[in-house]
């Protein structure tokens, strides 16, 4: 309940510099003013936050113990050489982390950054993610409570040789608790980096992860951001990624969501320089009574930028998927080239999708399109496969996999792409070789 | 027919035509050749009055009139036709309607009576054969969904219907297979008369096997680097453009 958070805040002994304390106070005051949104808020029209708003979450308890390396490796196989920070129940686990695998990139916990990079934080932290919009109160709550998280700074001109893995885990002690992880990614001009942000569970139930990631992508730099939401099936997950792009920068995002009972994932990018590109792709695979809501927003504020968006959903049982993709084109943003697609496959007659691809355009010399399709497995393709002797069930599973694989193929990290494809294949066909 | 004298034109601050002088007489076919970026297409566009180019100096006298002083549609009505390198699509507007509107505008400008839809169909039917196009394409939207070859043939159809005095063909051969190229060239050859003229802009010599030019001009860096008879085209085919570019470099 809202009052629980307000009360928790009065007991909070916030870490970090004085300027941040002031922002925390503004954020909690904003939350106090507007409270949790309802479905009357246009941005929450298809997702009621009531299950979160009406529950009470205590600050998440410390983990009972730390997982071993083989448990971690199983979460994302083949990543032994990656830079890695691990957080368990919202707390940095230095013994599981490998922060300095390579030069040219600073990777540290938020607490360490308070000490070591005060000016970097002052310049970027809380500057990208909006806390004023009543639809974004979860960001305000995170801002008020953020305790730990990750800070990544890629030095100018540096290409990181390996991806950076930020792993947020929960264990049994997480039950009934809330964590507010905060991530800051800074790609200095001319740099190139890949960050994989993974939310997964080793135990715990009915907990809430309320995450916020802010990213700044400098002139001519490229940032790949891959986000995996694999929370416990009865958990809640709200995650916002807010990105600021400078001239000629590229931001490529992939959101993969299979976990949580109720999840809401916001991915926002502002194109503030000429010649930027933003690519937002995603795949959500839901079953049971899972509800997953993706909200994307691309703001074209400068000319000559492009954006590409492909989101796919595979919905089984009585699951409910939501996609709301907004593309804004400011009057200055001439020659904008925007394309957005949302395709949903409904596997069950009880599954439901609400999709709202939205264009708001104020410049005349632009090329913007969006498309959405909803349907079930293509009967022609199904018949074709069956006529070649593939049994009905297997044919359906293969076609489902093929639908998902089209968007998974856009993931640039081979190991990750292969891993997720394997995961999808297993989920849809019960086998790992097809 | 047309007398071009020291024509200079630029886009923004960049000068592209750096002093072109050229005379084309009635009954003649001139070929404009040159490497990519030499200004060939710019010359075609400037003669048609494309608003994206600024003429900075020089003059163009067409049939005794100052062409540069005329609006694009006035040039068209006076008989200057440009076959576009990239024909533009106009969704929802039928080819027949578009062509008839253009035809009647040209007729009006000449003080001739306008054709009604039925009369016009007769005129077009005859011209369709010339470019080997099916009558069904008249009902399709202008260039929308046309293949590359269809678009180019559609340009020649318009040329045949509008019957201009000066036709400028801007890389009409690009993207055509050999059969389509022959069709296009045959069309042009049949339209050739003593009282009209053609300016054929092309990168490759192969079109000139079918449309035989009276004169060939090679454009390099916005200037005519060399002019000659049809044999110059063959020489270019054999030796490429580099030798002319090199000569030009030495001379500059």
């Amino acid at each position: 309940m809202a009052t629980a958070f307000l009360k928790q805040f009065t007991n909070l002994e916030p870490e970090g510099p004085a300027w941040l304390t002031a922002i925390r106070q503004r954020a909690i005051a904003r939350f106090g003013d507007v409270g949790f949104p309802t479905t009357r808020n246009e941005d929450w029209h298809f997702t009621s936050p009531a299950p979160i708003a009406e529950a009470t979450f205590e600050p998440m308890r410390a983990p009972t113990g730390l997982p071993d390396e083989s448990t971690l490796a199983a979460l994302l196989p083949g990543t032994a050489d990656w830079i890695r920070l691990v957080f368990v129940n919202g707390r940095f686990a230095p013994t599981l982390s490998r922060p300095d695998a390579a030069g040219g990139v600073k990777v540290m916990s938020l607490a360490a950054a308070y000490r070591e990079e005060p000016s970097l934080l002052e310049y970027h932290l809380t500057q990208r993610a909006d806390i004023v919009d009543p639809a974004q109160v979860f960001t305000a709550i995170n801002t008020a409570f953020m305790a730990d998280g990750a800070v990544v700074q890629v030095q100018p001109g540096v290409s990181t040789p390996v991806p950076i893995h930020l792993l947020f885990l929960t264990d049994d002690a997480a039950t009934g608790g809330v964590s507010h992880p905060r991530v800051l990614l800074v790609a200095e001009p001319g740099s190139n980096a890949t960050v994989v942000e993974q939310y997964a569970s080793l135990g715990g139930s009915r907990y809430l992860t309320n995450a916020v990631t802010e990213a700044w992508v400098g002139d001519g730099s490229t940032l790949h951001h891959i986000r995996l939401q694999q929370e416990a099936r009865d958990a809640f997950h709200v995650g916002t990624t807010a990105v600021h792009q400078e001239r000629d920068s590229h931001f490529l995002s992939f959101s993969f969501a299979t976990g949580a009972a109720l999840s809401r994932i916001n991915i926002f990018s502002g194109l503030h320089g000429r010649g930027c590109g933003a690519t937002l792709n995603g795949l959500y695979i839901l079953g049971g009574s899972q509800h997953c809501d993706h909200q994307t927003r691309i703001v074209h504020a400068q000319p000559d930028c492009y954006s590409r968006e492909l989101y796919k959903g595979v919905l089984d049982d009585a699951s409910h998927g939501v996609f709301n993709g907004k593309v804004y084109v400011h009057p200055e943003a001439q020659k904008t080239d925007g394309k957005q697609t949302n395709n949903t496959l409904l596997l069950s007659e009880r599954a439901r999708i609400d999709t709202k691809p939205q264009l708001e355009i104020f410049a005349d010399d632009v090329k913007c399109t969006h498309g959405a399709t909803v349907g079930r497995i293509d009967e022609t393709a199904l018949f074709y496969m069956k006529s070649r002797g593939i049994p009905n069930t297997q044919a359906r599973k293969l076609l489902t996999y093929a639908f998902a694989a089209e968007v998974l193929e856009t993931i640039p990290v081979d190991i990750l792409r292969d891993g997720l494809e394997r995961m999808a294949l297993e989920r849809f066909t019960g086998t790992t070789d097809a | 027919m047309i007398h071009i004298s020291d024509l200079r034109a630029s886009v923004g601050d960049k000068e592209i035509l750096k002093g072109i002088s050229l005379d084309v007489g009635a009954g003649e076919i001139h070929a404009i050749m040159g490497p990519n970026g030499s200004g060939k297409s710019t010359l075609a566009q400037v003669l048609a009055g494309h608003p994206g180019y600024e003429v900075t100096s020089g003059s163009v006298i067409y049939q005794g009139k100052d062409l540069l002083d005329m609006e694009p549609e006035e040039r068209a009505q006076a008989g200057v036709f440009l076959a576009f390198q990239y024909p533009v699509e106009i969704p929802g507007v039928s080819n027949a309607y578009f062509l008839r509107t253009a035809y009647n505008e040209v007729r009006k400008a000449r003080g001739e009576p306008e054709a009604d839809p039925l009369e016009f169909l007769d005129i077009v039917a005859d011209r369709l054969k010339l470019v080997d196009l099916d009558e069904a394409m008249l009902q399709r939207s202008v260039n929308a969904g046309f293949s590359g070859g269809e678009k180019k043939r559609n340009e020649i159809l318009q040329l045949a219907v509008l019957d201009p005095a000066l036709a400028i063909l801007d890389e009409t051969d690009s993207g055509l297979d050999i059969d389509a190229l022959r069709t296009v060239a045959d069309g042009v050859n049949k339209l050739r008369r003593q009282d009209n003229a053609f300016l054929v802009v092309t990168h490759y010599q192969r079109l000139l096997n079918y449309i035989v030019p009276d004169r060939v001009h090679v454009l390099v860096d916005g200037r005519i680097a060399r002019s000659g008879g049809k044999e110059l085209a063959l020489e270019l085919e054999a030796r490429g453009y580099d030798w002319i570019t090199a000569e030009q470099g030495v001379g500059a």
Binding site: E42, P331, Q334, L346, L347, E349, R352, I353, D354, T355, K356, P357, Q358, L359, E360, I361, F362, A363, D364, D365, V366, K367, C368, T369, H370, G371, A372, T373, V374, G375, R376 | A48, G49, P51, P72, R75, A76, Q77, F81, F84, P87, V88, E89, I90, P91, G92, V93, S94, A96, Y97, F98, L99, R100, T101, A102, E105, A109, P117, Q139, V142
Partner: protein, 477 residues
């Protein structure tokens, strides 16, 4: 280029004159007494008054919606007069008795009300401010059993039909403006086409707002009985006035089993001047209910009004029913339009098709807002939506808000949208073929709207052509 486009889109509003005529007008303000007074003036039966009063009480509890993408100053509902009728308006034995001033008004609007002058095959109901002043071709229609009359007449003459269908598609509680209309609606048109009858001519209502400071609240109810067919056209104009006037209409369509209703609108209310002063607030609720195997088709060309807020919708109740929506919406100067449709798929194998073309010029803002909802039982539902916007100039906006909500996995729903501008290259291409800039723009815009124009009946296609200043001849197939 801009000067050519300006010429085209800034054509003066031709219908901006007003008629000086003595009117029976209620003083501004709205309370139960006003609702009773309207009902009394129309000699309505008790049930009609009761329905109005229920609506009024409901309206009092409602708040004006503000979710649409339009901005306007607060409307003072107590400053509006809710009834205005020409003094001379009384039931006419024949149209020859019509007040010459009113006839002259319709002549000037190009809607002659003498039957011998009429366009063959179009019957017209002329609504002047709050009342219907005459309906043509009634006798001819009667021969086929088709009822076409003013709403007030229908309440008197066909109470059982009106009672059965009034509010059956748009209940008085539906939304703020529908409730207001239900309380104070003054007149409008009523159509009933009996079983198996194909209405022999186009039916048309021409709405004219004349009086100042009044609202217009007409109500249209069209019922096509089983297997019937009707095509209905609606046109609207108003004088130029510097104040905003409220138009809150309700249209209900009922297509019973296997019936077809085609409803076309050319909406050209006064849009306000180039500074955004004056113009009509067009807040309209239009909805049809389609029973088994029936088809409801909305076609609209929206060029007028300062603000347009309307979503002609179809409830696809019956199995195998079809809903269609074809729309061209043009905004210029300071006009705002938030328009689109709702297709609610309830029955099995229901189909809907949506084609929306938005053109924004000047400082206009055009929003497409459409909902496609497939309910759990709508097996085999199919929707295709195409939604294109064209921007002319750099101070206008085009917005697309589609809501796609699917709860049945046998449904196939496709939505496509694009935004483009008139290309300089297209204009140059046309000019190089000898066309003037204005011709070029006309041709390109008409091509853009072609899929919608071809849905309009011929007479309206011509009017739409004049409205957009577009030469359509031959370009619309």
């Amino acid at each position: 280029m801009s000067s050519e486009i300006e010429l085209l889109v800034n054509k003066d509003y031709q219908y901006g004159f007003s008629t000086d005529i003595e009117a029976d007008q209620l003083p501004p303000g709205l309370d139960e007494g006003v609702v009773r007074a309207i009902s009394a003036r129309k000699n309505e039966p008790e049930w009609m008054l009761d329905w109005r009063l229920k609506a009024f009480r409901r309206w009092q509890q409602m708040t004006e919606p503000h979710w649409s993408n339009v901005k306007y100053p607060k409307i003072d509902y107590q400053a509006i007069s809710y009834y205005s009728a020409p003094r001379s308006a009384k039931p006419l034995a024949s149209l020859d008795e019509l007040d010459p001033k009113i006839r002259e008004t319709y002549d000037k609007l190009g809607i002659p009300l003498q039957e011998q002058k009429l366009l063959a095959g179009v019957a017209v109901d002329a609504v002047f401010d709050s009342v219907s002043v005459g309906t043509t071709y009634k006798a001819e229609l009667k021969k086929h059993g088709v009822i076409f009359c003013s709403f007030a007449e229908a309440v008197r003459e066909y109470p059982e039909l009106v009672r059965r269908y009034l509010g059956s598609v748009v209940p008085y509680s539906d939304n703020f403006f529908a409730a207001l209309n239900s309380a104070v609606f003054s007149d409008g048109s009523f159509v009933y086409v009996p079983k198996g009858v194909r209405c022999p001519m186009e039916l048309s209502t021409y709405f004219r707002i004349n009086a100042a400071d009044t609202g217009q609240f007409e109500r249209t109810l069209i019922v096509a009985d089983e297997g019937a067919y009707v095509s209905y056209l609606e046109g609207c104009t108003a004088p130029k006035r510097s104040t905003n006037q409220l138009h809150a209409a309700v249209v209900e369509l009922v297509a019973l089993d296997r019936a077809t209703v085609k409803y076309s609108t050319v909406q050209n209310w006064y849009a306000g001047d180039e500074h955004g002063v004056g113009g009509i607030y067009n807040f309209v609720t239009k909805r049809g209910k389609a029973f088994a195997g029936s088809r409801i088709s909305w076609t609209q060309v929206e060029t007028g009004s300062a603000i347009t807020w309307k979503y002609p919708s179809v409830i696809l109740q019956g199995d195998n029913s079809t809903g269609e929506f074809y729309s061209v919406a043009v905004v210029n100067n300071h006009q705002q339009a938030d328009t689109g449709t709702k297709m609610i798929h309830i029955g099995r194998n229901t189909k809907s098709n949506i084609v929306s073309k938005g053109i924004s010029a000047g400082q206009g803002n055009n929003s497409y807002r459409g909902q496609v909802k497939v309910m759990p039982k709508a097996e085999g539902a199919r929707n295709y939506t195409q939604c294109d916007s064209m921007l002319i100039g750099n101070r206008c906006g085009a917005h697309t808000f589609p809501y796609v909500e699917v709860q049945n996995n046998t449904a196939i729903v496709e939505h496509e949208a694009s935004t483009s501008k008139i290309g300089e290259d297209q204009i140059f291409y046309c000019k190089q073929r000898g066309l003037s800039g204005e011709q070029a723009v006309s041709m390109i815009v008409s091509g853009f709207c072609r899929e919608v124009f071809k849905e309009l009946p011929m007479e309206f296609a011509l009017e739409a052509q004049q409205l957009l200043g577009i030469t359509l001849e031959g370009s619309v197939g």
